[in-house]
C-alpha cells in the first residue's frame, strides 16, 4: 500500500492553483468567447513579478501578490485593448481569436524571457520559503503554502460568487456571456464590463503565478506547462460553469498527484508521463460530454453510463458506413 498522505496534500495545493487559473480562463471565455492560450503567460508574468518583489526588492508575500496582480492584470488588459478587442470588432471567428491568443502568448513569453535574461532571473525560485507546520510522513509536509493557497482560492471563489450575484458589473458579465447583443441593447456598458473581466482574469492569474513561484522554480515555460491542466479543468466545467470549473480544478489536481503516484507504485510507470493524464481528461470530456459538468444531473450520469458503449460503437460504424 502506498502512502497517500503526500498525494492528498499535493492535490489540495495543485487543485487550488489550477482552480484559480481555470476560473480566469473560464470567465474570459464566457464573456469574450476567446479560448485564451495567452492565459498561461499571464501566470508566468505573475510568477516573475512575485520573484522580482521578493528576490530583487526584498519584500514579503503581500507586496509580491500586489505587484503580481497589477502586472498580470495590466498584461491582460493590454492584450485585450491592443489585440482582442480590435479583432472582436471586425467579427473574427473564434478560431482566429484562438490563434491570435497564441500569438499574444508567444510575444509575451519571449519578451519576458529577454527581460528575465537581462535581469539574471531566467530560472529562479522565490526566496520566500514555505515553513513546515506538521510533518505527516516522508515527503509529506503540511506547510504554510498548503494553508495560503486554498485560502486564496476560497476567497476568490466567494468574491466571484458575490460579484456574479450581487453586483451590477457581475450581472452584466453574465448577461454578456449569455447574449452579447441583448446585453448591449439593454444598456450594459459592454466595453467597461469587458475591461473589468480581463483585469479580473489577469489578477487571478497573477495570484496563481506568485504562489507557483514559491511552490516551484520559475522559468518562462511555467505557465505553458500548467496550461494543459488549466484547460483540462476549464473543459471539465464546460468552459462556462464556474462551479464546474472549481470541481474540475480539484479533480485535475487530484488526478495529477494521485494518478501518477498510483501508476508509479502499482505499475512502475515513470512520473514523467504526468501530462498524459491531462490529455486523457481533455479528450475524454470532449468525446463523452463536450459540455463538461455544466448542467449535469444525476439522471444524465445514469443514462450516459447505460448508453455509452452502444453509442460509441454506432459512432465508429457511422464513420465507415457506406453512402446512403
Amino acid at each position: 500500500m502506498v502512502d497517500l498522505a503526500g498525494p492528498l496534500l499535493d492535490s489540495l495545493l495543485l487543485g487550488s492553483l489550477y482552480t484559480i487559473m481555470a476560473l480566469g480562463l473560464t470567465i474570459t471565455y464566457k464573456v469574450t468567447k476567446i479560448p485564451n492560450f495567452a492565459h498561461a503567460e499571464f501566470v508566468t508574468v505573475g510568477s516573475y513579478a512575485g520573484i522580482v518583489a521578493v528576490n530583487v526588492w526584498g519584500r514579503g508575500l503581500a507586496e509580491a501578490l500586489l505587484l503580481a496582480v497589477a502586472a498580470s492584470a495590466g498584461t491582460a488588459l493590454l492584450a485585450d485593448e491592443l489585440v482582442f478587442k480590435p479583432l472582436f470588432r471586425r467579427a473574427a471567428t473564434s478560431l482566429h481569436l484562438l490563434v491570435a491568443s497564441i500569438g499574444v502568448g508567444l510575444v509575451v513569453r519571449y519578451v519576458l524571457s529577454i527581460l528575465a535574461s537581462a535581469a539574471g532571473i531566467l530560472s529562479a525560485k522565490s526566496d520566500l520559503l514555505a515553513t513546515t507546520l506538521v510533518s505527516v510522513g516522508p515527503g509529506a509536509n503540511l506547510t504554510t503554502l498548503h494553508l495560503w493557497i486554498p485560502a486564496a482560492t476560497a476567497s476568490a471563489v466567494v468574491a466571484l460568487h458575490v460579484l456574479f450575484t450581487r453586483t451590477r458589473i457581475g450581472k452584466g458579465m453574465r448577461a454578456m456571456a449569455s447574449n452579447f447583443d441583448l446585453a448591449r441593447v439593454s444598456g450594459i456598458p459592454t466595453a467597461r464590463v469587458r475591461r473589468i473581466t480581463w483585469i479580473l482574469a489577469g489578477g487571478l492569474a497573477g495570484v496563481a503565478g506568485t504562489f507557483w513561484s514559491v511552490y516551484a522554480p520559475t522559468d518562462p515555460e511555467v505557465g505553458w506547462r500548467a496550461l494543459l491542466w488549466t484547460f483540462a479543468a476549464s473543459i471539465l466545467g464546460g468552459f462556462v460553469s464556474v462551479s464546474g470549473t472549481i470541481a474540475g480544478g480539484y479533480i485535475v489536481g487530484a488526478s495529477e498527484s494521485f494518478g501518477i503516484t498510483i501508476l508509479n507504485s502499482e505499475f512502475g510507470i515513470s512520473a514523467s508521463y504526468k501530462p498524459m493524464i491531462a490529455l486523457v481528461i481533455i479528450v475524454a470530456v470532449f468525446l463523452i460530454r463536450p459540455t463538461g459538468f455544466a448542467g449535469l444531473t444525476v439522471r444524465d450520469v445514469l443514462d450516459g453510463l447505460r448508453k455509452f458503449p452502444g453509442r460509441t460503437v454506432a459512432r465508429v460504424k457511422s464513420l465507415f458506413a457506406s453512402r446512403g
Binding site: 471586425r90 490563434v99 497564441i102 500569438g103 508521463y273 490529455l279
Partner: protein, 360 residues
C-alpha cells in the same frame, strides 16, 4: 570567406520542408476548415519513422546489440552509411513511403475528435495531442532515445561526398516541395477540393446534398498528415538527428504563421509565406551568424527573437490582413474556362449584326 553554399542549401532545404508542411496545413485548414494545430505531432511521426528505421535497421544488419543512442553508435551508423550507400538510400526511400502511411493512419485517428468538435475546441485537443506526444517520446527511451534522441541519421546521398550530398538533398527537397504544390493544386481544383470547401463553409448544407462529411474529414486529415510525416522524414535526414525537443508546439505556430501570412486557401500564397518565414527563421538562428563568420553577442538567447517575430506576425496578419498577402481566389475549373469561351463570341455576333444593319 564564409561558406555560403552551406547557407544556401540550408535555406533551400528548410524552405522546401516548411513549404511541404504549410501546404499540408493549407489543405486541412485553408480548404477543409479543420485546424490541425497538432501539425508538429504528425511531422514528428515522420522524423521518428526515419530515425527508428535507420537506427534499428542498421543495428539489425550489423548485429549490433548495444545502446543505439550514444555518440559511438551514431558514429558507427555514419561509417556504415559510407560503406553501404545503397542500403541507406533504400532506407531513405522506405522511410518516405512508410512515414506517409503511418502519418495517414494517425490522421484518420485525428479525424475522430474532428467529427464532434467545433474549430476552436478541435484545435485545443490537437495542440494537447502534439504536446503530449512530445512528452511521451522524451520519457519513453527504448524506442527513440528520449531527450538525447537518435543521432547519426546519415545523408542518403553520402556516396556523392559532403558538399555534393548537401546540394543533391536540397534539390531533392525542392523537387518534392514542387511535387506537393502540384499535387495540392490538383487536389484542391478537383471535385474533392470543392467538396472540402463546402465542408468548411457549410457542413450542414453538404450533408444535405448527400456528402459524407465525416469521411471527407478523415480523408483530408489522412492526406495532410501523410504529407506532414514525409516532411518529417526529410527533416530527420537533413539534420541527421531526431530529438524530442525539436518538436515543440512553436513549430506548428510557425507553419500557421506561414499559411496565414500567405493566405489560407491559396497555395501560391502559402509558398510566399513559407519563404518569408524561412528567411525570418534563419536570421534568428545563431548558426546563421556563425556561417557569416561573426558572432552575435547578445545578453539573451537569439532564438527568443524568432518566437516574438512569429507571434507578432500572427497578430498583425489577423488584425490588418486576415485574408493573407494573396487571398483566396474563386475556384478555377476547365468548365469555367469553357463557359467563358462559349460566351465570348456572343458580343462578336452582335457587332456583326450591327454592321449588317448599317446602310451601305
Amino acid at each position: 570567406m564564409a561558406d555560403l553554399l552551406f547557407l544556401y542549401t540550408s535555406i533551400a532545404t528548410l524552405f522546401g520542408i516548411y513549404a511541404i508542411l504549410a501546404l499540408s496545413f493549407n489543405l486541412e485548414y485553408g480548404y477543409a476548415g479543420q485546424p490541425n494545430l497538432g501539425k508538429v505531432f504528425f511531422f514528428s511521426i515522420g522524423a521518428y519513422v526515419a530515425g527508428i528505421l535507420v537506427a534499428h535497421g542498421t543495428a539489425a544488419l550489423t548485429g549490433y546489440t548495444g545502446d543505439l543512442f550514444t555518440a559511438q553508435a551514431a558514429n558507427a551508423r555514419l561509417l556504415y552509411a559510407a560503406a553501404n550507400p545503397g542500403t541507406i538510400l533504400s532506407f531513405f526511400i522506405g522511410a518516405l513511403a512508410l512515414a506517409g502511411l503511418v502519418g495517414a493512419g494517425f490522421g484518420v485517428l485525428a479525424s475522430y475528435p474532428a467529427l464532434r468538435l467545433r474549430g476552436d475546441f478541435l484545435a485545443i485537443v490537437l495542440i494537447a495531442v502534439g504536446e503530449v506526444g512530445r512528452v511521451f517520446v522524451r520519457v519513453y527511451t527504448p524506442l527513440a532515445g528520449g531527450n538525447i534522441g537518435i543521432g547519426g541519421v546519415p545523408s542518403p546521398f553520402v556516396f556523392l561526398g559532403d558538399r555534393e550530398a548537401r546540394v543533391a538533398f536540397s534539390v531533392l527537397v525542392l523537387l518534392l516541395a514542387l511535387g506537393t504544390f502540384l499535387f495540392a493544386s490538383r487536389l484542391s481544383n478537383s471535385p474533392l477540393g470543392r467538396l472540402l470547401k463546402s465542408v468548411r463553409d457549410d457542413e450542414l448544407a453538404s450533408n444535405v446534398f448527400g456528402k459524407r462529411t465525416p469521411w471527407v474529414k478523415a480523408q483530408i486529415l489522412a492526406v495532410g498528415s501523410g504529407i506532414a510525416a514525409i516532411a518529417g522524414v526529410l527533416w530527420a535526414f537533413w539534420f541527421q538527428t531526431v530529438a524530442a525537443d525539436d518538436f515543440i508546439p512553436q513549430l506548428t505556430f510557425l507553419v500557421v504563421a506561414m499559411v496565414l501570412l500567405g493566405g489560407a486557401g491559396n497555395h501560391r500564397g502559402v509558398l510566399v509565406g513559407a519563404i518569408t518565414m524561412t528567411v525570418l527563421d534563419h536570421v534568428t538562428r545563431p548558426s546563421f551568424y556563425a556561417i557569416l563568420g561573426f558572432e552575435a553577442n547578445l545578453a539573451f538567447d537569439i532564438n527568443y527573437l524568432r518566437y516574438i517575430l512569429i507571434g507578432l506576425m500572427i497578430i498583425l496578419i489577423l488584425m490588418f490582413r486576415p485574408g493573407g498577402l494573396l487571398p483566396e481566389k474563386p475556384v478555377r475549373t476547365p468548365a469555367l474556362d469553357i463557359a467563358r469561351a462559349l460566351r465570348r463570341p456572343a458580343p462578336a455576333a452582335d457587332t456583326l449584326q450591327a454592321e449588317r444593319t448599317q446602310p451601305p
